[in-house]
């Protein structure tokens, strides 16, 4: 679930509020997105993929994590490279090659085509 909105990194562009398929965010008084309906989060990582500032972190767990969890430790997420990692992997952001263009996976059978998704 969405666990972190970095106030430091957020550029208040409203993108996450706009793209979240299940409408989890609201815009706060200060312009920062607020996680208003975390229980509606479907852990699809779309907000993160679309955040131009790498200011969001979605934990893989489909239940909320306690305050002391790694998912709230921005320092750790930055150092480990996890913050912004999905966007990097799919090649979104300026100067990057779209991941789709590099997506040549294994073939599951000897005669089969390589998987590309």
């Amino acid at each position: 679930m969405i666990e972190l909105v970095s106030a430091e990194r957020c550029i208040t562009c409203d993108k996450c509020i706009e793209v979240c398929p299940t409408n989890v965010f609201d815009r706060g008084e200060d312009g920062l997105p607020v996680i208003s309906r975390q229980s509606d989060c479907q852990t699809c990582f779309q907000c993160e993929a679309n955040c131009p500032a790498d200011a969001l972190f979605v934990a893989p767990q489909t239940h909320p994590l306690p305050a002391e969890s790694f998912a709230h430790d921005e320092e750790h997420l930055r150092h480990s490279g996890l913050l912004g990692s999905y966007r990097r992997e799919i090649g979104w952001g300026s100067g990057r090659t779209p991941g789709a263009a590099r997506a040549i996976g294994p073939a599951l059978s000897p005669a089969g085509q390589p998987l590309i998704s």
Partner: protein, 518 residues
């Protein structure tokens, strides 16, 4: 807010976007209303898909068509398979050329087009739809259809949850592309898919088909969401003590996992992948690795617990019944596409392993969009007397009482998520479950009156109850095992039941062999 258009497309995934593009291509004015955000919403946007993309060479096409016939219980139709292969081939090439989708290039220099990365594909589809002049309404779940005096569909109404206001679109024709129903299981990207389209269609008298093929379950690491399953082909499954779980597998043997999960945890390791495969897997499916990287698990060397998440009719094949080549239904002006529609025409009772559903969303979306535009043009722009067709959850038949929507959802989930009810089906269990579901329907139908923003979850709950009842009624009507509709109490395929099963009804649910008279 009230808008007028020739064609209204309900949904925002691949089926909806192809429908909108092709309707607009016919010169129709088009509105697309999505519950979430067109570009990120739905199963494809998050998951990505393999695509049934087969070059038009006779031998390859023949092999492609033959490959799934037995698995699907011989309920598919060769003519429809051939149409889908043709249409998908053209549309994917259009996506490469006009849509500039960056397909990867193989070692021999050929462009590989047998799959699509979800976020990239749907981001481009949104741009294309906008450029085609379509009006996109995001965060605008449709809650009911509008119908004219002759019973033809005339538009839809819903609620814009971010703008906080109701909306209505008057249209000459409507395409329902709302996806399947995964019962809020949190399977990857599927919580927007609550089967709304089937409820809307049934309220106008449309029929369903193949609703017994509705027990797809996807593998994911325990307590997580990513139900991408292809790479579990490299998996060995284990019990807690490290003993190999015999017979368990991703393609054949998923039911062994389900049965075992009823009483103990099941663990997994992707230990059959060699080094080259391990590297390549990351490139093909970055979303598959999100979970592992964030859990700090190396899936190739560490064992991890797995679960199965219900994907219902998303990766099942049942849906709204189609009556013509334009994906029309029995309701004039109402067209269906993607997972909202039955996919039996091309894969019978089984889709596992992917690619057919994506091809179907592209093809059926394109056909439905074109046919809807033609219908609207023939109808013209005269004014029609219209009324709102929504029943359950909006206009109770009795005095409104305090029906708890969350409780209704829990009730449905308790009947459709458990492996020992929906996956490992048994006639007696299905009958007991149906009683519960009928009770839930009665209380919603007689007592629930939701308005404004509350209409959205109320209608989702109603749609899920309706879906579950068509599923189990159809599963009982199929008194045998065929495709994914296996019955523990009827383990064999019965040649006498080589037919599709049509279903429908709301207060009274029915299911019968296709073509049989009442």
């Amino acid at each position: 807010m009230t808008l007028t258009a020739d064609v209204l497309v309900v949904g925002g995934g691949p089926a909806a976007t192809w429908a909108a593009l092709k309707a607009a291509g016919q010169g129709a004015s088009v509105v697309l209303a999505d519950k979430g955000y067109c570009g990120t919403s739905g199963a494809t946007a998050s998951g990505g898909t393999g695509v049934w993309y087969v070059p038009p060479e006779e031998k390859a096409r023949e092999a492609a068509m033959a490959s799934r016939e037995a698995l699907g219980g011989y309920l598919a139709d060769r003519r429809w398979m051939a149409r889908v292969l043709d249409e998908t081939y053209e549309r994917i090439n259009e996506l490469a050329d006009a849509g500039r989708y960056p397909f990867p290039v193989g070692l021999d220099g050929t462009s590989l087009r047998n799959g699509l990365q979800g976020p990239e594909y749907m981001r481009r589809q949104r741009i294309r739809v906008k450029r085609a002049g379509v009006t996109i309404l995001d965060h605008s779940p449709v809650t009911e259809l509008l119908v004219d005096a002759d019973g033809a569909v005339a538009g839809a109404a819903g609620y814009q949850r971010q703008a906080g206001r109701p909306f209505e679109v008057r249209a000459g024709a409507v395409v329902l592309a709302t996806g399947g129903c995964a019962f809020l299981s949190k399977a990857f990207g599927c919580n927007v898919n609550t089967g709304d389209g089937a409820l809307l269609a049934a309220e106008l008298g449309a029929e369903l088909s193949g609703m017994e093929f509705s027990n797809a379950y996807g593998i994911a690491p325990e307590h997580t969401s990513v139900t991408k399953t292809a790479f579990y082909n490299y998996a060995t499954f284990y019990r807690a003590d490290g003993e190999v779980l015999e017979g368990a597998g991703s393609q054949r043997g998923r039911s062994v996992i389900a049965r075992t999960l009823l009483s103990e945890k099941v663990f997994c390791k992707l230990d059959l992948a060699d080094d080259a495969a391990r590297k390549a897997m990351r490139l093909a499916q970055p979303n598959f690795f999100l979970t592992f990287d964030r859990l700090g698990v190396n899936p190739f060397t560490d064992t991890f617990a797995v679960t199965l998440l219900a994907e219902g009719t998303v990766r099942g094949t049942g849906g709204i019944r189609i009556v013509d080549d334009g994906c029309g239904t029995t309701v004039p002006g109402l067209y269906v596409a993607g997972d909202a529609a039955t996919r039996e025409l091309i894969c019978g009772g089984f889709t596992g392993g992917g690619s057919h559903n994506a091809a179907w969303a592209i093809s059926s979306g394109s056909w439905a969009g074109r046919a809807a535009a033609q219908f609207a043009r023939a109808l013209g722009r005269g004014t029609r007397q219209v009324s709102a067709a929504g029943g359950a959850g909006l206009r109770p038949t009795g005095g409104s009482s305090d029906v708890d929507v969350a409780e209704i959802i829990r009730t449905v989930q308790a009947e459709v998520l458990p492996y020992d009810k929906n996956y490992l089906r048994h006639g007696d269990v299905l009958r007991t479950a149906l009683k519960e579901l009928d009770g839930a329907w009665s209380s919603v139908r007689s007592g629930l009156r939701a308005e404004g923003a509350a209409a959205v979850p109320a209608r989702q709950a109603a749609a899920m109850v309706a879906h579950a009842r068509w599923m189990y009624t159809s599963a009982l009507a199929r008194n045998e095992s065929r495709g994914m509709a296996k019955r523990l109490d009827r383990p064999d395929l019965d040649p006498a039941q080589h037919h599709r099963i049509t279903s429908g009804g709301l207060d009274e649910v029915w299911a019968r062999p296709e073509g049989a008279l009442t």
